[in-house]
């Protein structure tokens, strides 16, 4: 199979031949950064369009269909509009923090891109604590929302931010615990190890019922963590107009918007990596012929296919469920999800020790 590592080593060799090691490392980092930003922008455009098309499909309408063929350039036009729009800063706002918050949101989303394996050997940074890194960095997201809500000096924003703070901090626990149950089975926090361990079957199939439970918990928890409906209390447009980003306009709003969609992509990518094998093709134990055929499908296609499937599920939630109330939201986490995921982690640990998985 063709692999991206050849490309990477090729670029590396070409650069080190011509420049000194420090400079070539810098150039490589810049290239990686450009790649991330490009991917970021493309993902934002694609996901916004996808959301609009999915919602249109569920709401018996057509969705955007005027800009470009089938409306595929609609999000590009929207971005252009947001770029040229005036970015207002309210007089009573804390100007420094107000302008800083959207950038923090976007930085967090960009940092999360690093340990995700997009295809075989296509990974920016395969650090040995990959999963821990993802959990840790994604917690910073809540700070940007809190800053945005507080510095806007608007009651709606403040309430949205406070809701969001309570919500993200709570749901991180279940998300973390369900991630841990995979880590317990694999015995490593490194993303590449987790994917390799699924070469003979994805964890959702290998791990019996506990893995299915932690997959479901994970999906619920990350939907809440990314502030998506039915857990979009931070925005809650019917109660708080737009929640924490009520006062934001123009590109500053667009950055929040983009960060939300990229976060959705990232949590779905993490879910696909942990439970559905990342870029690993669908393999069944000893069926060599079948596995061989599956290997012919490019690994990037597997990864993006699984990720977009999960994204679709999360969008499906959004367009069919009503919103929860704040006390119901916290009850769901602390009374149901957290105990379930704790017990589930214990069962998974016992399973890992006794070797009961395939």
């Amino acid at each position: 199979m063709w692999s991206f590592s050849g490309l990477a080593t090729g670029i590396d060799a070409w650069l080190t031949q011509r420049f000194n090691p420090a400079l070539s490392l810098t150039i490589e980092m810049v290239l990686a950064g450009i790649a991330v930003i490009t991917l970021f922008a493309v993902l934002g455009l694609v996901l916004v369009l996808m959301e609009r098309k999915v919602s249109a499909w569920m709401q018996i309408r057509l969705g955007p269909n005027r800009v470009g063929p089938k409306g595929i350039l609609q999000s590009l036009a929207d971005t252009l509009k947001l770029l040229v729009k005036e970015g207002l800063t309210p007089n009573s706002a804390d100007k420094l923090l107000f302008n800083f918050a959207p950038f923090l949101a976007i930085i967090v989303a960009m940092l999360l891109m690093a340990p995700i394996a997009f295809a075989k050997d296509l990974q920016l940074w395969d650090l040995n604590i990959g999963v821990l890194y993802i959990s840790a960095v994604s917690s910073i997201m809540v700070i940007s929302i809190l800053i945005a809500g507080w510095s806007s000096n608007n009651k709606y924003s403040l309430m949205g931010a406070m809701r969001s703070g309570a919500q993200i901090v709570s749901y991180e626990l279940s998300a973390g615990l369900s991630v841990l149950s995979v880590v317990v089975l694999v015995g490593s926090l490194q993303v590449s190890d987790i994917i390799k361990s699924q070469a003979d079957g994805w964890w959702i199939f290998k791990g019996h019922i506990p893995m299915v439970v932690s997959f479901v918990t994970f999906i619920i928890a990350v939907t809440a963590e990314t502030n998506r409906a039915p857990f979009d209390l931070a925005e809650a447009e019917s109660e708080l107009t737009a929640g924490f980003h009520t006062e934001y306009s123009g590109m500053k709003f667009a950055l929040f918007f983009l960060a939300e969609y990229v976060n959705v992509f990232i949590v779905c990518a993490v879910g696909a990596t942990l439970f559905l094998g990342g870029w690993m093709p669908f393999h069944i134990g000893h069926w060599q012929g079948f596995n061989h055929v599956m290997d012919y499908i490019p690994s990037s296609l597997w990864f993006f296919g699984k990720t977009f499937l999960l994204i679709f599920v999360i969008m499906w939630f959004r367009w069919t469920f009503p919103r929860l109330r704040i006390d119901q939201l916290l009850n769901l986490e602390w009374k149901y999800l957290l105990p379930i995921s704790m017990v589930n982690l214990l069962v998974t640990t016992a399973m890992a020790i006794l070797g009961w998985h395939f």
Binding site: I60, K155, S238
Partner: protein, 371 residues
């Protein structure tokens, strides 16, 4: 200093919801005192869309003033017009031909379905579900098309007039209404799948905004809001007008008094409206659609009152006549005003998210409250 920042001396937050706010569906202004997420007080401020309709009616003739009332509760425009027409007929002592009576009731019930449809979609949107809105509008559009064909308008139909209706039904009317009923029966099951049966929805609505029957009566609540608390107040049953006395339908009563009960009352009422239409659509009597009236209407000196059941509750029309061509004084008793006044009572102690759901189930139409 606290007052300036919108904080009470006890440290509670004062939040203005509206007059421009997605949840208020119009220009209603609520001043809410919040302790964290918990509501301590709700104070509605009215008057943003006051057009002095009652005063305007005083300078319009008895034929003309009916059309202004379409702009009160614009979702049950037919029923408003109907109430006014009935009141004027009471004064003139005109007998409405049976055909006109049936046409009026048919259009009333179609309006009721359309109004409840819009309520269903908007209320779902209030609690965060977007999709029902579009499904509701699909059915409402069909009704609007039927209305457009017969009355020439989609929202403010102005079809009722003293003595009958403006013109005969469109030849397509019967067939289109029948086909609408056929598909609608199937669609109403879809609603249950999409929203009514949803566990999140049930938890959001159950035991939220409980209105006791005593409160419902003492605040003057009518319509589905009161019937959700088990108060029998359907004018169509209690004081039948037109052919309502002859058709077979049930008054829907739920005893919970919470948001879910009010929701269920409206959902089941739509089915009852379908029942009424089914009974009448095949037997539209032959004859005139309008009684013979004089060119210039003059009500005898006196006071006339007529009430009807709109989609929101009891609408009363009170005309004081001095014997001239225009009313001396007109007063409308609108259902929305009394239903809104109960909001503070049921919202206290609830969460901010509940307030939106409660407002949704009260089915407020702001131009009806302000007039």
């Amino acid at each position: 200093m606290f007052e300036e920042q919108g904080i009470t001396p006890e440290g509670d937050l004062i939040v203005n919801v509206g007059p421009q706010h997605p949840a208020t569906h119009g220009v209603l202004h609520l001043v809410i005192t919040l302790n964290g997420e918990t509501i301590k007080k709700v104070e509605p401020h009215l008057g943003y869309i006051h057009r002095s309709i009652e005063k305007m009616c005083e300078s319009l003739s008895y034929r003309q003033f009916i059309y202004v009332t379409s702009r009160m509760d614009y979702l049950s425009a037919h029923i408003n017009n109907h109430a006014c027409a009935l009141c004027v007929e009471k004064g003139l002592q005109v007998e409405v031909p049976p055909k006109a009576q049936v046409i009026r009731v048919l259009l009333d019930e179609l309006t009721r379905i359309a109004s409840h449809e819009l309520w269903w979609g908007a209320m779902a949107m209030d609690i965060g579900a977007f999709t029902p809105f579009f499904h509701a509008f699909r059915e409402r559009e069909t009704i609007n098309d039927i209305m457009e064909e017969t009355c020439g308008a989609r929202l403010t139909m102005n079809f009722m007039m003293p003595g009958g209706v403006m013109q005969d039904l469109h030849p397509n009317f019967q067939a289109r209404v029948k086909s609408f009923i056929q598909q609608y029966k199937h669609k109403i099951g879809e609603y249950a799948e999409l929203l009514t049966g949803n566990i999140i929805f049930k938890n959001r609505m159950k035991n939220v905004g409980v209105l006791s029957p005593e409160d419902a009566i003492s605040y003057g609540c009518t319509g589905p809001t009161a019937r959700g608390s088990g108060v029998s107040c359907d004018i169509r049953k209690l004081y039948p007008y037109e052919v309502y006395g002859q058709v077979d339908f049930d008054e829907i009563l739920e005893t919970g008094g919470d948001s879910l009960s009010r929701y269920m009352v409206r959902i089941r009422e739509m089915q009852q409206s379908i029942r009424i239409i089914e009974q009448l659509i095949d037997g539209i009597p032959e004859g005139d659609f309008q009684a013979k009236t004089k060119a210039v209407l003059k009500l005898p000196k006196g006071e006339f009152y007529q009430r009807v059941e709109t989609a929101r509750g009891e609408l009363g029309v009170y005309i004081v006549s001095e014997g001239g061509t225009t009313p001396y004084r007109i007063k409308f008793r609108s259902p929305g005003f009394s239903n809104l006044s109960v909001l503070d009572r049921i919202a206290r102690g609830g969460k901010l998210g509940d307030l939106v759901a409660m407002m949704g189930t009260l089915d407020l139409v702001i131009p009806d409250i302000d007039r």
